[in-house]
Structure formats: C-alpha cells, structure tokens
Amino acid sequence: MDPETNPSRQPHRGARIRVRTAAVGALVLVAALVATTVWAVGVKADVDRKFAEATSTRQATADSAAKVQQAKSDLGGEQSAIALANDINAKLERQIENQAICASAQQADLASLRKVFDDSRANFENATKGSKLFAAYAANKKALDAAVADLVKAYRAAAAGSLTTANSWIRASNTQISIAIRQAKILDKEIDKVNATTDRITGAQRSLDQRLDVTAVTCGG
C-alpha cells in the first residue's frame, strides 16, 4: 500500500526505531552487560577467594596462636621441671659430697680398727702358745713343779734314812728353783713388752673411739 494512501503507515522518524538498529544496540548493550557481569562475577570470585584465603589464614593464625600458647605453656612446664630437677640435683650433689666425706671417714676408721685389731691380735699371740712369754711361763711352771716334786723326793729319802740321796734331791730342787727364777725374769720382761703394747693399743683404741663418734656425726648417725 502506498504510504501516501495510508497515512497510518507513514513512518514516524521520532517515534519508531528500526528493529535492526535496536537489535544492534541491544546486542552491544547485552554484550556490555555480559562483559560487565563476567567482570563482576570474576571480581566476586576473587573476593570469595580472598575471603576464603583470609578466613583460612585467620584460622591458621588462630591455630598458630593456639600452638604458641601451648608451646608457651609447655615451655613454662619444662622450665618448672628444670628448676625442680636442678633443685633435686643440687641436693643430690650435697648428699654425694656429704656421703663422700662419710665414706672417707669410715674408710679411715676401718683401717684404724683393722690396725687396732692386728696389734691386739699380735699382742695376744705374743702371750700365747708358741710365744717367748708362753715358753718362759711354761718353763717356769715346769721348774717350779719339778722343784716341789724334788723336795718331796728329798723328804722321802731323808725319812728312809738315805741322807745323801735326800741331799741330792735338795740340790736338784734348788737347781729347778734357779731355773724357775731365771724363767720368771724372762717372763717378766716379756710381760713388760706385752703390757707396753697393750698400753699403746689402749691409747689407739681411745682415740679411735673419739674418731668413731665424729664419724657417726659426719655420717648423720
């Protein structure tokens, strides 16, 4: 139909826009919208990533802080334990020092006791069988017994009228008495030696007893 015969179809340039033109414009705008949306979504994704990363980092920080707290607590515990151990060690070291002094004193006492015993034993052996003292004692006793026995024989001979025999027994008895006296002198010398040793041992024993008292105190007894 001719536009001039149908005024209603006459194009109105200010009121209508061609579809192609509109479509192109729409395409441009939609493209811009899509691009903007892609950009915005990308940014939002970045935001989400950063947020997640920040959250994760904060969590890691919190975990780390918790570990720091735990480590500090452990550190405090360890330091307390060290202080306690050092205290115990100091006491143990003092105990070792004291015990060393005690053991040393004991060792010296033991040596002295052993010496006293050995001296006592030697002194005893100097006065018992096999010793010079014992030999002198036995000889003295034997001579004395023999002298008495010879006197009995002298009496019996005299009573029987055998005066010569009696006199010979008297002489024999006198000889035995001389032997007894000689052995008694030897015996006395040996007894003097033993007594001197006994005095020395007694002195050593007394001073040792005092030391043993000191040791008992040193050892806490």
Binding site: A22, G25, A26, K50, T61, L110, A158, I170
Partner: protein
Amino acid sequence: MDGDEQPPQPLPDRLGPPGPDRAAHIDEHLPPGPAPMLPRPARTLPRWLVILGALVLLASIGSVAAWGYTSIQELERQKSALASAKQDLAASQSELAGVNGSLATVRLTHSEAASRSASLTARVANQSACIDAQATAREAISSITQLQIDTFNLTTKNSVWAKAEIAREKALFRAAEDYYAAFKSAFLGSTSAAAASYRKGQAEVATANAQLKIQNDELATVSANNKTIMAALDAFTATLANATTTCAVE
C-alpha cells in the same frame, strides 16, 4: 540511523507541491520504461520500547557494574584483611618458631638435668651401699677386736686366770717350804714333825692344783674365743672384700 540506508527514490521535496501538478511533475522526473518496484518497508520498534529496553539493559549494566565496583571495594578490603591476616600469621609463626626453638632448648636442658638426676641418684645409691657395707665391716671388726681384747684380758692382771696363777704359785711356794721343813725334820729324825709338814705341803699342792684347774678352765675359754675370733676374721675378710668392691663403684 537514517544515513544507514538510502531509499531508491529522490527525496519528497523533489516531488513538487501536492496537488494536480504533482503527477505531472512526477512524470517529468520518472525514468522512461516500466515503473520500479518499491522495497518492503523496514520493521521498526517503538522508540519508547527501545529506549526502555536500552534503559533496562543500561540499568542492568549499571547494577552489575555497581555490584562489581562494590565487589572491587570488598576485594580491596579482603586483600587488606588477607595481608593483615598473613602478617599476623607470619608473626604468629615466627613467634611459634621462636617459642618452639626455646622449647627445644629447654627440653634438651630438662633432658640433661633429668639424666644428671639419674646419674646422681645412682651415685648416691652406690655411695649408700658403700657406706652400709663399710658400716657392716666396721661393726664386724669392732666386734672381733672387742672379743680379741676380752680374750686377751682373760689372762691379764686381776683376771681370774691371773689370780689363780698367783694363788697357785703361792701355794706351790708354801708347799716347797713345807716339804723342805718335812725334809729337815726327817733329816734330823723328827718323824712326826716331818709327817705334819709333809701333810701341810700336800694340802698346799692340792690348793695349787685347784687353782690350776681354774686356770685351765679360763684357758679353755681363751681357746674357744680364739676359735670364734678366727672364724669371725674369715667372715670379716669376705665382708671387707664386699665393702671394697662396693666402694669401688662410682
């Protein structure tokens, strides 16, 4: 938009004024031959619709852009927060590393202290064992020494044995005197006096023998003690060896 597409015919103002002359005017300007075909008129949309659509799209773009812009700001905040969190994390990790380092050092020190405690405790135990062993040895040797001295004293001055020895010697000397008197009386023919002196001598000998028995009893005690001392001495040798071995351990 009008410049995009040219219509095939001249502009309307070339058609001349409307009215009866217009057809003639058109004829003058029409090319000879058959009349050309007019193209179909272009499809159009109402301008308001296009504008509305454009506005909607622009609004959408604006909204999305605003959202994106907000997101950028949020992104900046998150970046800042992340940087801050990373700094905090680094600081915390650094502190943790420091504390862990200290902890490792302190644990080593604690371990060394504990090890020293164990060593010292063992030394104390060894020393205690040494002290106990030496105390036992000391008791033993003291006891043996006392028995030795007691045994020795069984035959010393003022002992039972010594008193018996003195009494025996005196009795024997008196016996000797009595027997000599008996000899002299018999030699001179005084039989009864001789017999009396002899009997006195025999009594003194009996006394001496009685004292000798006392002495022998004491000597039996000495011998028994001596055996005890020898046995105790053997045991003491083992005790002393134990003390020496125990005290040699550090």
